[in-house]
Symmetry: C2
């Protein structure tokens, strides 16, 4: 079980370093997961917005975490490719429990966003980096190097970050999250159309298809 | 709660007697239920095939009943129109418990099929009529006259009923099911294209859009 999960986590990480853009189609149930896997995508990602809508709750931790994880578990059971789960802001769980819940449902990656769903705006960068480091450590203890995709939500309207500071704040947050143990940074809402110059190697139109920035290779500034 | 469910059950029954064909779009989650209700349909029906696929199980009672009812409950919570649930062959539940579970999730109607998912083929007509009568009685005791849509599965390939006997057997079953307390008979798989002459007042192409035969009015042969 753990060996299989570790293999999937390794595979998911490798897919981030092939030199090609990794596209993660987002799914919300077993049927959509099977469609994506059968279409040949090497990984399946869940979307909290879609799963929340499927379950009948508002996005942004509006659904009970048990229902969100149960839905993500159905996705993971349905396919043999690695599954990464949009774990929103972590549902207030302790890092070790979050890792246990992810592995329990067969997930080997997760998104974690720095939006503060209770107070609004973004959590302090240090408040987000702490759990990221703890999740990295807990995953190591569990023997499964889950792929952590840390969201820097500065481009979202509710972030409270002034327009002219969003790029710099995303870069600042991204650097700290990578330093804390995240594998990738996901500046949701960034787009070339809006004139953002994102410092990652690649970017794409964000929207229904999530944009994941790849971690820069050696010798490149993050 | 019971008064609200009774009102929904009454509404669902009335919709079968307006003189117009009642179309029941089939849904599988809260999002699809909302789309159907927002499109103006006065009722929402679940489909076991779709819910099973969404959950990642084969149809035909392949999913745990708890998961099927939980999914149907999410549908019922999502809309204010009456919801009728494809309860497959009843999951081996006692009639009273089946009624309790349906009302618990907010459903006011159900499909019950006479396919024998364990042994294959169809259950004996009497074996199906008994629970239908008991469900009718249990619903009456509960104060919610749920709408029972009894499926006569003679037209399904697995029924074991010879082609030339399917119509007569469906009629025989339908009469007994109506007598036992069913509100409607659903001869799934019947179609004009295949040359069946169904004795109901109306019929439609069966397939993705279920065909529901209406109970004949007074003075008409069922």
């Amino acid at each position: 079980m753990i060996a299989d999960l570790k293999a999937r986590a390794d595979r998911l990480r490798e897919l981030h370093h092939t030199g090609e853009m990794l596209v993660l189609p987002n799914v919300w149930d077993a049927a959509s997961a099977k469609i994506v896997a059968e279409a040949g995508f090497p990984v399946v990602a869940t979307a909290s917005a879609a799963i929340s809508a499927m379950l009948g709750y508002p996005d942004g931790e509006g659904a009970p975490w048990q229902e969100m994880f149960a839905a993500a578990g159905r996705v993971a059971r349905a396919v043999s490719v690695p599954v990464t789960v949009d774990a929103e802001a972590g549902y207030g769980k302790e890092p070790r429990e979050l890792v246990d819940r992810l592995l329990e449902i067969g997930a080997v990656g997760c998104n974690l966003e720095d939006t503060d769903h209770r107070a609004g705006g973004l959590v302090d960068v240090g408040v987000h980096a702490g759990p990221l480091a703890a999740i990295r450590a807990a995953a190591g203890d569990a023997g499964v190097p889950i792929v952590i995709n840390a969201r820097a939500d500065t481009f979202l309207p509710g972030s409270g970050v002034p327009e002219q500071e969003r790029v710099a704040e995303a870069v600042r947050r991204g650097r700290l999250y990578l330093g804390a143990g995240a594998d990738c940074i996901y500046p949701i809402g960034v787009s070339h159309e809006r004139g953002h110059r994102y410092p990652g190697r690649r970017s794409a139109r964000a929207g229904q298809w999530q944009h994941q920035a790849r971690r820069p290779g050696p010798g490149q500034a993050p």
